[in-house]
Amino acid sequence: MSYFDKRPPVKRYEHGSRVPGWDEAVDLTKPPATVPDPALTPVPAELREKIETAMALYPDSKSASIPALHLAQKHHGWCSPEAIEQVACVMRLTPAYLTSVASFYDMFALTPKPKHDVYVCTNISCSLLGADEFYEQMCASAHGHEDIGVRGFECLGACEIGPMASVNGEYVGPLNLFDAQLIVEDLEAGRPVLEHKQLRNRAVADPQGRVADWTGIDPVGQEG
């Protein structure tokens, strides 16, 4: 009997090698989306003003599509069809175009997302230091808290504090398994998250970069 007869059968992905939904037909009974009619699309004045300010910064106003989507996501909580419609109306683009842009970038949510974002870096440097375990613990701690969304994320650019997470944009680390619960408690209480582990307070590692009167976190004092 050769080796190949003994091997277990090769497992195939359930949906073949294709992404589910790839063969769903377009609904041809609906009219194609066009640039929304300003008369029929109410846009909050504050949002409109901010998008228009962003558009004025660039030689080509289309460049503002990412900033505008950020603004709309902040206003609506996620990139809802309504939010995209409003951006499209102000920027004079089609909603389809903006959806194609929004779906490319990790930070835009095309489905409703929880209020708080916890991005846990699970890339190489952090995972060498136990990020995968922390991610699981974080998911477990946030379980049942509807307003906290935990996501494994690609390198967030703070490998010196690995394992680390970005909690609503605030970088914290190095994290241990107990910190997962503290993050949840801080978020629920509306406090700043893990203040003693925030990257913004951390001294540079290079000895010549440091100053004697540094008041924040000194990595050498901590780890030495």
Binding site: Y3, K6, R7, P8, V10, K11, Y13, V19, P20, L57, Y58, P59, D60, K62, S63, A64, S65, I66, P67, L69, H70, S100, V101, S103, F104, Y105, D106, M107, Y119, N123, I124, S125, S127, L128, L129, E154, C155, L156, G157, C159, E160, G162, S166, G169, E170, Y171, R200, A203, V204, A205, D206, Q208, G209, R210, V211, D213, T215, P219, V220, E223
Partner: protein
């Protein structure tokens, strides 16, 4: 200021991120000096310094600037602050603690090349740094360093901070330009290179944060003086980010040509007691791995290239002997398969299939022959993609397969033994559906 610390010298000083703090240290003096010399002489000074791009490719900045067409036309400068190469975090610290050195470097560069419109493309996750930069730009505008007819020199500049939204590929210069134009960040076919046709079809100079931040130092010191630091082919100092299994991870400024052992063991304390270096990435996760015996290599562009790797973005990731080579390779492929934009086939399919093939090793379905297939897939990716994302996976994974073949073969053997006794769980698709 010492000669070895040009960017990081006492960078923790409180208030250095404000205009007042920066000017107290002699900030914006290089700008005044630059306005007094002819534009062409500034480019010559940068060329004489031998400054190589700090973002990854190591292309000479002076040469890149000289490719820009001369004359009156809409030209652009784009600062690449996307910094998403795994292991790299040097620009973050620089922008957070000393944003004005970048702004000053950009003003000098735009003056030297006749550019009136500049952008900083910062990754969306760096919210704190983006806020700090925005405040710094506003300060510089109020002080008259940005705007019309700066300091009476006749040079005008508009500087815009642009926040990305989370995509590794936007660190690739043409992907970045597409993203900056408000599109999906797909890389473009080169040529034409951005210096000829880039942003809005205009000639565009794209440089890394650290590269541009070094320009004021070069103007202050003189290009020839700067070239004396470091080695002949790799001049100056470099910010390096060390992470992974070292005791003192973080950002350091070193003179190029320092021994790698001195960096990993001297500055960073090496792995924890009792552990040894199994492999290390000298220039971010895209660089081919090196082994413990390579630790005595000098840390500069040419030596590392000769050793079959690269200096890249200056991000050293140390992996100690408690980790398996397979685990490291799987982390890499998962990342690159997730971040592949899907525009060209070798990268889209190659990253995805490499990831699946490694998963088969783990689940016990692979044979030693799969390692040959894995290696051949990597060689077929390298050089055949639109941009270097495919190569960025193929180089480290190819080097891991070549250098840790024995370990991987043992892993295949052990895993298939496990699989024959215990039923194997179906492979889960590790790449989230709908990801780009």
């Amino acid at each position: 200021m010492t000669t070895t610390h040009l960017l990081f010298d006492r960078i923790d000083e409180p208030g250095l991120n404000t205009l007042q703090g920066y000017e107290k240290r002699g900030g914006y003096s290089a700008l005044r000096k630059a306005f007094a010399i002819p534009q062409a002489a500034i480019v010559e000074e940068i060329s004489a310094s031998g400054l190589r791009g700090r973002g990854g490719a190591g292309f000479k900045m002076g040469q890149k600037a000289s490719f820009l067409p001369k004359g009156e036309m809409a030209k652009y400068l784009v600062c690449n602050a996307d910094e998403s190469e795994p292991g790299t975090f040097k620009d973050r610290e620089l922008m957070q603690k000393c944003p004005h050195v970048l702004i000053e470097g950009m003003i000098i560069t735009t003056f030297a090349t006749g550019i009136n419109h500049a952008f900083i493309y910062i990754r969306g996750e760096y919210e704190l740094q983006a806020d700090i930069l925005e405040a710094a730009i506003a300060e510089a505008e109020a002080a008259g360093f940005i705007g019309e007819n700066i300091l009476g020199s006749g040079h005008s500049l508009k500087l815009v901070l642009h926040r990305g939204a989370g995509a590794y590929i936007c660190g690739e210069e043409t992907g970045l330009l597409d993203s900056l134009e408000g599109k999906r960040g797909n890389p473009r076919l080169k040529p034409p290179f951005p210096a000829i046709e880039g942003l809005y079809h205009g000639p565009t100079l794209v440089n890394n944060v650290e590269t541009l931040a070094t320009v004021p130092t070069i103007i202050n010191m003189g290009g020839a003086e700067y070239a004396k630091i470091g080695t002949e082919g790799s001049t100056g100092t470099k910010l390096i980010s060390v992470s992974g299994d070292v005791q003192r991870p973080g950002n350091y400024e070193i003179v190029l040509g320092t021994s790698s052992r001195e960096i990993i063991f001297g500055l960073c304390g090496g792995p924890k007691p009792g552990r040894t270096v199994k492999m290390w990435f000298p220039g971010g996760s895209s660089s081919p791995v090196l082994l413990e015996e390579d630790l005595d290599l000098a840390y500069d562009f040419d030596t590392l290239a000769k050793a079959g790797s690269m200096l890249g973005s200056g991000a050293i990731i140390v992996v100690d002997d408690t980790h398996s080579a397979l685990g490291v390779a799987q982390k890499l492929t998962k990342f690159y398969a997730h971040e592949s934009c899907g525009k060209c086939v070798p990268c889209r399919e190659g990253t995805n299939w490499t990831h699946k093939m490694l998963a088969r090793i783990e689940s016990g379905e692979a044979t030693p022959m799969d390692l040959d297939i894995l290696a051949s897939v990597q060689t077929q990716i390298i050089g055949n993609c639109l941009c270097v994302l495919g190569d960025a996976m193929a180089m480290p994974v190819g080097s891991i397969v070549a250098k840790f073949r024995d370990e991987l073969e043992a892993e295949i053997e052990a895993a298939s033994e496990r699989a024959n006794t215990v039923p194997v769980a179906p492979i889960q698709d590790a790449i989230p559906v709908g990801a780009h």
